[in-house]
């Protein structure tokens, strides 16, 4: 059959089965559209540019750690430490900004390096000592959180130069720097996973570590890298959050790792590794953030928000699992 004939054949088949096919394939997109439609219907404020910007700004710090988390989960691991690493790097960044008030850029670098260091320790412990990722990063969660308190003697670091706040609050083309980082990050990581050897090796390690090793993949190196990247991104996320409130706090980022993991899983990734995409994570992230925002606008009490979110996260994944079974 010629290409044209195939196309024609395809066009002709837009019937019930085709729609069902589409629904199965894009189940999560459809869920997201329903959620958005619901909020837009209930509140006129939801769809405004201002509110969309709010959603994006709120999403940005999560996006960075969710990207790192995606890579880690694709290798079949998990990184529980990112929330604490955010706290630690926000403290490190704030301390640097306080000590060198005119070297704001240095604060960013220090924060990212602190995150990278924490991630590298995770990577080393996981890839060289073979400690299960859950345990290794659980240890780092506690360790980094403790260090964050140590840095500030148990208190947040306040009284930072106003210029520190400019990191996260400067706008370029109407978008703040964290939002730009999020967009660049999603596109960049999305391309990396599809177009580079490194991306392919991550999928291979997660899909079957032994097979990857036999195929000559330096699996230890790949594992180390994903944790290091995850840590560095948490560092970046930490300094952005600190800059937004012009303060370093040891409680910043607490529990963020769970939202990041939820975003990745909602995005269709398998916790066993090997399956999942950056685009899926972006979608999952958007769903969670839209829910947070929409429920706020509808002034749903905070405790109930958590209840609704919890139910929706499981429901979203249940729909995806259902659809995955029917996906060809």
């Amino acid at each position: 059959m010629s290409n044209e004939a195939v196309l024609k054949e395809r066009r002709r088949r837009i019937d019930g089965k085709f729609v069902q096919h589409l629904a199965i394939r894009y189940a999560m997109v459809i869920v997201l559209i329903f959620v958005i439609a619901f909020f837009a219907y209930r509140s006129a404020r939801f769809g405004t540019v201002d509110n969309v910007t709010t959603i994006l700004i709120a999403a940005a710090p999560f996006a960075l750690i969710a990207l790192g988390q995606t890579l880690v989960i694709l290798t079949g691991g998990i990184d529980l430490s990112v929330g604490s690493v955010i706290a630690l790097s926000s403290m490190a960044g704030a301390l640097t900004a306080k000590t060198f008030p005119d070297q704001i850029f240095l604060a960013v670098i220090v924060a990212v390096l602190v995150g990278l260091a924490a991630g590298s320790v995770n990577g080393f412990v996981v890839s060289k000592i073979n400690v299960p990722p859950f345990i290794a990063t659980l240890g780092m969660l506690t360790l980094a959180s403790g260090l964050a308190y140590v840095v500030g003697g148990g208190a947040p670091i306040n009284g930072l130069p106003a210029s520190f706040g400019s990191i996260a609050n400067t706008q370029i083309l109407g978008l703040t720097i964290p939002v730009i980082l999020m967009i660049v990050g999603i596109v960049g990581f999305g391309i990396m996973m599809r177009k580079t050897a490194f991306g392919m090796r991550i999928y291979a390690v997660g899909g079957n570590q032994l097979a990857a090793q036999i195929a000559g993949v330096k699996t230890g190196r790949v594992l180390f890298s994903v944790y290091a990247i995850s840590g560095a991104l948490a560092g970046l996320s930490g300094v952005m959050l600190a800059s937004r409130v012009i303060s370093g706090s040891p409680t910043l980022g607490q529990g963020y790792e769970l939202d990041a993991i939820a975003a990745v899983v909602i995005g269709g990734a398998s916790l066993l590794g090997g399956r999942g995409t950056v685009w899926g994570t972006a979608l999952g992230l958007l769903l969670i953030q839209t829910l947070n925002n929409g429920l706020d606008i509808l002034t749903v009490p905070a405790y109930w928000q958590d209840v609704i979110k919890g139910v929706l996260i499981v429901a979203a994944v249940a729909v995806d699992v259902w659809a995955a079974k029917r996906r060809p």
């Binding site: 580079t196 079957n208 097979a211 090793q213 000559g216 993949v217 090997g274 060809p328």
Partner: protein, 548 residues
């Protein structure tokens, strides 16, 4: 003593079911219900039909072989009969009673048990716990462990197996785990036992034990259905043969009325030409040189060489260290000392990337576990080992990659829907071809093969033999570990026999062609009459007589 008890307990089982059967025959119109009857089973996965209306009947006290190439629908058939899958159309009756489709609980209730290809044993639990899981004996004070242990021991003794039931399942060889699973099945009152490739993962001597167990069950009135790729086993066991091809039934006959050729022809739908192609001559120059390579866990280092275009077979029993040696050469298993040279150059030990850079390729034994990455597509699998040659500063050169993988998969005549088809949807033989093809996108000097045709059907097997000889013909040095004796005899220029990690014998082409060579290899491999076997590979007939 054991024999007596055996007969008693088995007879008890028969009596019980006899009364059951009588009760049922009264209600069912048919005179004698079959142990298992499948009527017009149909099943499709995502639109692709796997079974197209297959009917099958098993009588009590018979063994039926279910043969067919990979992807013919054998496993699907068994999974439907045992309630794991729901058929799209058709019914399953167990002794006249209809099986509630897609319910494995119902299948267990009706007395259908399946021993799957990949056993689902609880490895960290003990043997008796495995046998009694789900039907634990308990009293007012909790579990009655002593009684379960005693009963487990009795049940195992029925099959002539004397092992401590409190041993961990993980300490048993796969063959014994399988028998524990069978014991578990009979213990739940199974009258129909389905065995999916029971012999594919176990050693030869374990196969003979399995055969004894299966015959015992048959004599006790159980209906057995099993799949295998080995003709000898069909001949040794089956009373009846059923052949599937492309999801349809193509043969359903008593074993006594068919020849081996009939079966093979039915399976592949054409006459099978000679399974093994002619071996091309090999060159003289040494390509692979192993000197004093000490694999971790082996008692002593080994040395050997392989010449250009030569196929070197590695024979031995399970646990002889063939896999370990091959993995040691490739660097995936740790080696302690020694040297691996490829075309005169030493390669770094314990580093698969270094081996790959020196054009050493490995096709591992466990295709699913270590051969390919099943969640990735053919293109990604095909390019993974040579990824560096398809990248520019880390970026994939898509068209070059696609072209090379396409050419390589064509050279092994891979059948697929395209390069983007996922590995897990390919049949076993085609997966194996991908694992071959992925090395062929670049140069290969040394090809290491570990059980190249395990779990591969007859049709694909002859193709894989053709590929191997062609590659050798192109000048590759091939090292092939195999438990399949015909493979060693017909496909190697030279063979080494391993035992306990060391080389205990070497046979050249002439010796491999001798009529009693199988016996020679077996003696070397098992350590029987060591001196005799080693000094004179052509074992004297007298020896053989006394041994038997």
């Amino acid at each position: 003593m054991i024999a007596m008890r055996r007969r008693n307990s088995l007879q008890k089982g028969i009596e019980m079911t006899d009364t059951n059967e009588r009760a049922e025959t009264a209600t069912v119109a048919e005179d004698q219900p079959f142990s298992l009857e499948c009527r017009n089973l149909e099943k499709a996965f995502s639109g692709i039909p796997v079974l197209r209306g297959v009917s099958l009947r098993l009588r009590p006290g018979t063994i039926t072989a279910l043969a067919g190439e990979n992807g013919a629908g054998k496993s699907t058939m068994m999974k439907i009969a045992s309630g794991q899958y729901r058929a799209d159309a058709g019914e399953v009756f167990v002794r006249g009673e209809q099986l509630h489709s897609g319910s494995s609980q119902d299948a267990t209730r009706l007395g259908v048990a399946i021993v799957p290809q990949e056993l689902a044993s609880l490895l960290d639990m003990t043997i008796y716990e495995n046998i009694f899981i789900g039907r634990e004996l308990s009293g007012p004070t909790g579990l009655r462990r002593k009684e379960m242990i005693a009963r487990a021991k009795e049940n195992l003794a029925v099959f002539g197996i004397d092992i401590d039931p409190t041993r961990k399942m993980s300490t048993l060889p796969v063959g014994l785990r399988q028998i524990v699973e069978i014991v578990k099945a009979t213990n739940t009152g199974a009258r129909v036992i389905l065995l999916d490739e029971p012999s594919s993962a176990i050693a030869e001597r374990e196969v003979s034990r399995l055969i004894t167990v299966m015959r015992q069950l048959r004599d006790a009135g159980v209906a057995l259905l099993f799949t295998t790729h080995k003709m000898e086993e069909i001949r040794a066991l089956a009373d009846h043969i059923v052949v599937l091809r492309d999801g349809g039934l193509v043969m359903d006959q008593a074993m006594s009325t068919v020849s081996d050729d009939d079966i093979v022809t039915a399976m592949i739908g054409r006459e099978l030409n000679d399974l093994f192609p002619d071996l091309p001559d090999h060159g003289e120059e040494t390509v692979l040189e192993i000197s004093d390579l000490h694999v971790e866990g082996a008692p002593a280092p080994v040395s050997f060489t392989v010449r250009r275009g030569e196929i070197l077979g590695l024979a031995g029993l399970v646990g002889a260290g063939r896999t370990e040696l091959i993995e040691g050469i490739f660097g995936i298993r740790r080696t302690l000392s020694g040297d691996v040279k490829v075309t005169g150059k030493s390669i770094k030990r314990n580093s698969p990337p270094a081996a790959i850079d020196s054009n050493v390729a490995l096709v591992p034994e466990d295709r699913k576990g270590s051969g390919g990455v099943l969640s990735m597509d053919i293109l990604d699998n095909g390019s993974l080992p040579r990824l560096a040659s398809f990248t520019l500063a880390g970026w994939l050169k898509q068209s070059a990659r696609r072209k090379a993988v396409k050419a390589a998969t064509e050279s092994v005549s891979l059948r697929s829907r395209g390069l983007n088809q996922s590995m897990e949807t390919l049949s076993g033989g085609n997966q194996q071809k991908v694992v071959f093809a992925r090395w062929l996108v670049g140069d290969v000097a040394v090809l290491l093969l570990d059980e190249p045709t395990r779990g591969v059907d007859v049709g694909a097997r002859s193709e894989i033999y053709r590929i191997i000889t062609e590659l050798a013909g192109k000048g590759m040095a091939v090292v092939m570990a195999s438990s399949d004796m015909p493979e060693i005899l017909s496909l190697s220029h030279r063979a080494l026999v391993l035992r306990g990690g060391g080389i205990v014998g070497e046979l050249d082409r002439a010796q491999l062609a001798e009529s009693d060579v199988q016996d020679t290899i077996f003696r070397l491999a098992s350590g029987l009459t060591q001196t005799q076997g080693q000094s004179n590979p052509a074992t004297p007939d007298t020896e053989k007589e006394t041994a038997r």
